[in-house]
């Protein structure tokens, strides 16, 4: 009886600290979201759910939601696919494996803003190397049909290494003897992958998915630097929209409403994964 009680006592400081830095701001943002607040003009008025009602009819919000969902689904699936392939390759024994692993990590090591600027030049219509290599004259970042895919491609390039390294670590925990046993039983490589690698890698995959999905859903810096949300808002994600409302038009009320929605969505996503993960652990 005694031990759990003293345990609870030890948790109190951590809980207090957490509520100070996360719970309090959260409640404050929710409180702001019920207001019409223009800081610079000293306007602040309680308007109830007015901002939320406007949000439901705000097609720019729904557009941002659609863009964010598209970005998240496509980029995370591609990153998982490529990351897993690279991890499987890196898991083999070959010369210079250490060196190759280090090289693979480079895109992940470059700060996002720097790589976004770099890709901005790669995508440049007149001077970019991409058009030069393809022999095309496509306005990658300027055309509404290409811009989002260009941003996704950059994100995949940048974060696949992260996924690959985490999965490599996961692969190395899988006991070697399982593979040897399977080989003795005469299982083909596809069967080995499906029956041994994938199930045993599942917890790591789920952790990777949590990280990546949440990051992708809140994506801001990469897209903001690359396109600023344009052309015609076809790359405006929820975070970019919230940022613009908060810091460019300084509407703290409506901006907070958008932030609350982003929070609810990411909260929902994490809950979903945590459920999935705890089931996977059993």
């Amino acid at each position: 009886m005694k031990e759990p009680e003293s345990g609870n006592r030890f948790v109190v400081p951590a809980l207090l600290l957490l509520s100070l830095v996360t719970v309090y701001p959260l409640i404050y943002v929710f409180y702001l979201s019920l207001q019409r607040r223009l800081l610079i003009f000293d306007i602040s008025r309680f308007v109830g759910l007015d901002n939320y009602i406007f949000l439901l009819r705000d097609d720019r919000f729904w557009n941002a939601m659609k863009n964010t969902a598209y970005f998240t689904v496509v980029s995370v699936s591609l990153e998982l696919l490529f990351g897993l392939s690279i991890a499987l390759l890196l898991n083999r024994q070959f010369r210079f494996r250490g060196l190759v692993r280090a090289i693979v990590l480079i895109p992940w090591a470059i700060p996002t803003v720097v790589s976004a600027r770099m890709w901005e030049w790669i995508y440049n219509t007149d001077f970019g190397i991409l058009n030069y290599l393809l022999g095309t004259e496509i306005n990658w970042l300027g055309s509404p049909s290409w811009a989002m895919n260009a941003a996704i491609f950059m994100d995949v390039w940048k974060t696949t290494p992260f996924v690959a390294i985490l999965l490599t670590a996961g692969l190395q925990i899988i006991p070697r003897d399982l593979y040897q046993a399977a080989m003795i039983d005469g299982a083909g490589s596809w069967a080995v992958f499906r029956k041994i690698t994938l199930p045993l890698l599942k917890p790591v995959i789920l952790v990777v998915l949590i990280f990546r999905t949440l990051d992708a859903f809140r994506v801001f810096d990469a897209v903001y630097v690359l396109t600023g949300g344009g052309p015609a808002n076809t790359t405006e994600t929820l975070s970019i929209y919230a940022y613009k409302v908060l810091f460019q038009t300084l509407q703290f009320g409506y901006g907070s409403t958008l932030s609350v929605i982003v929070f609810l969505c990411t909260g929902g996503i994490s809950l979903f994964y945590v459920k999935l993960l705890s089931r996977g652990m059993k």
Binding site: R36, L38, L39, I40, F41, I43, R45, F54, R57, D58, D59, R60, T125, N139, L141, G142, S143, P144, G228, G229, G230, P231, A232, N233, T234, E236, K244, F247, Q248, T249, L250, Q251, Y254
Partner: protein
């Protein structure tokens, strides 16, 4: 004596340091924030030095802001909302003054300009620096949208500069179907403030507007018609290449400057560059007021920069003296002669030196006289932020002009509700 000399020296040095320190205290340093000076910065520097010489006791430290005006605006908003006194004099885009004045960040400068002196400035900028009858900044230099055209090409095919939009379409189509590698008409269509400047010229020249008598009229039939025409320039008449949907001033200036377009909408700064030696279009460029629709009359969007004083400045008197100096006729004339900043004082357009060096300024006088300020409202920047993506979507063909302007209206209504 040998021991005395070093100590004497040290003593003298200490005294001198103390004296220098005291001198420094009498000198006031004014920090002046402004955007990058176009072209050669040397004449501007000389101007600052002249002010320092004429005003011993005031030192000017000028600091350049980020290149994009949106970032400049954000810099000011964050610092002024934080009551920063790190800068004294600020240069402001023509659309910011009412907002900054409403927020209480600018020193009231009404006493610097008598009623009579206010009349010496163009009316547009004077409107733009006034808020509730008080003056919060002094117009420094002026800008307005103009239509550049290729004199040589128009002559070759026997056309006069167009007065209506339909004429422009007809001339452009005629010429580009007969010449190789030539765009008809280029303008600024990227999702940014410049797009609003472009669009307003179509709205106004069709009798439309954003606000009329305090009411939001952004989704009026006139505006929808004008915006449809902008889309048609690309999609239907095909005289405007789709690349304008990502173009700002400089890319369009490069295209026109390399001789690859018949018409271009831009600000007057481009003229000096076109007339430089070695320019492919030297002597071939003409400038005209913007065309209009049959219903309306030609309209140019007013641009330009104004000087104001930070309300939290510790040296407002010295700052006032500096603002008066930089906006004086003499300083404006120097900047016009050297780096092509267009004066805000009307009398300078009759100045002989100026006309001799920049004959093109005579034609601009009429344009500046009729230039219209974007809605003079503290809420303008917020309105523009919601308008930009809608206009961009309409021009790119993602939304119909009707949808885009209806959506813009909902947002603008929502923003203006704050004032109720």
């Amino acid at each position: 004596m040998r021991r005395l000399l070093p100590s004497l020296l040290i003593f003298l040095i200490i005294i001198n340091c103390a004296k220098a320190d005291r001198d420094k205290k009498d000198v006031v340093t004014i920090i002046f924030k402004h955007g990058k000076i176009a072209g050669d910065p040397e004449p501007f520097r000389q101007l600052l030095e002249r002010f320092e010489k004429e005003n011993p006791g005031i030192k000017i430290k000028d600091e350049t802001l980020p290149a994009s005006t949106d970032e400049q605006h954000q810099f000011y908003v964050i610092n002024l909302e934080g009551k920063s006194s790190d800068f004294d004099v600020l240069s402001m885009d023509v659309i910011w003054v009412p907002e900054f004045a409403r927020a209480g960040w600018l020193r009231d400068l009404s006493h610097l300009l008598s009623e009579k002196e206010r009349d010496e400035f163009f009316e547009g900028p004077m409107q733009a620096v006034s808020y509730k009858g008080r003056v919060y900044a002094i117009p420094w230099y002026i800008d307005a949208g103009v239509l550049y055209y290729r004199k040589d090409l128009l002559q070759k095919y026997g056309f006069k500069p167009p007065e209506t939009w339909q004429e422009l379409v007809k001339i452009a189509q005629h010429i580009i179907s007969r010449e190789k590698r030539l765009y008809g008409f280029i303008w600024q269509g990227k999702q940014y403030e410049g797009l609003v400047c472009n669009a307003l010229e179509y709205f106004w020249s069709n009798g439309g507007d954003i606000l009329k008598d305090g009411k939001v009229v952004i989704d009026s039939p006139e505006n929808i018609e004008a915006l449809s025409f902008m889309r048609d320039l690309i999609a239907k008449y095909k005289i405007t290449p789709p690349l304008v949907t990502t173009a700002t001033e400089e890319p369009t200036r490069h295209i026109f400057g390399s001789g690859r377009a018949v018409f271009m909408r831009n600000w007057p700064y481009a003229w000096n560059i076109f007339e430089k030696d070695g320019s492919p279009v030297k002597g071939k460029v003409g400038v005209a007021p913007m065309p209009s629709f049959p219903k309306g009359r030609s309209a140019s969007t007013l641009g330009g920069w104004q000087l104001g004083i930070n309300r939290y400045s510790r040296h407002p008197e010295a700052a006032e003296r500096f603002v008066k100096f930089l906006t004086s006729g003499e300083a404006q004339k120097t900047l016009a002669l050297t780096i092509g900043y267009k004066p805000t004082r009307k009398s300078l357009y009759k100045d002989r030196d100026l006309i001799e060096k920049q004959p093109f300024i005579v034609g601009l006088y009429e344009v500046f006289l009729n230039a219209r300020p974007r809605p003079v409202s503290p809420y303008y920047m917020m309105m523009s932020q919601v308008l930009q993506p809608e206009l961009s979507a309409a021009i790119a063909g993602i939304k119909t002009p009707d949808e885009a302007l209806k959506s813009a209206r909902r947002h603008i209504d929502h923003i203006l509700e704050a004032e109720k």
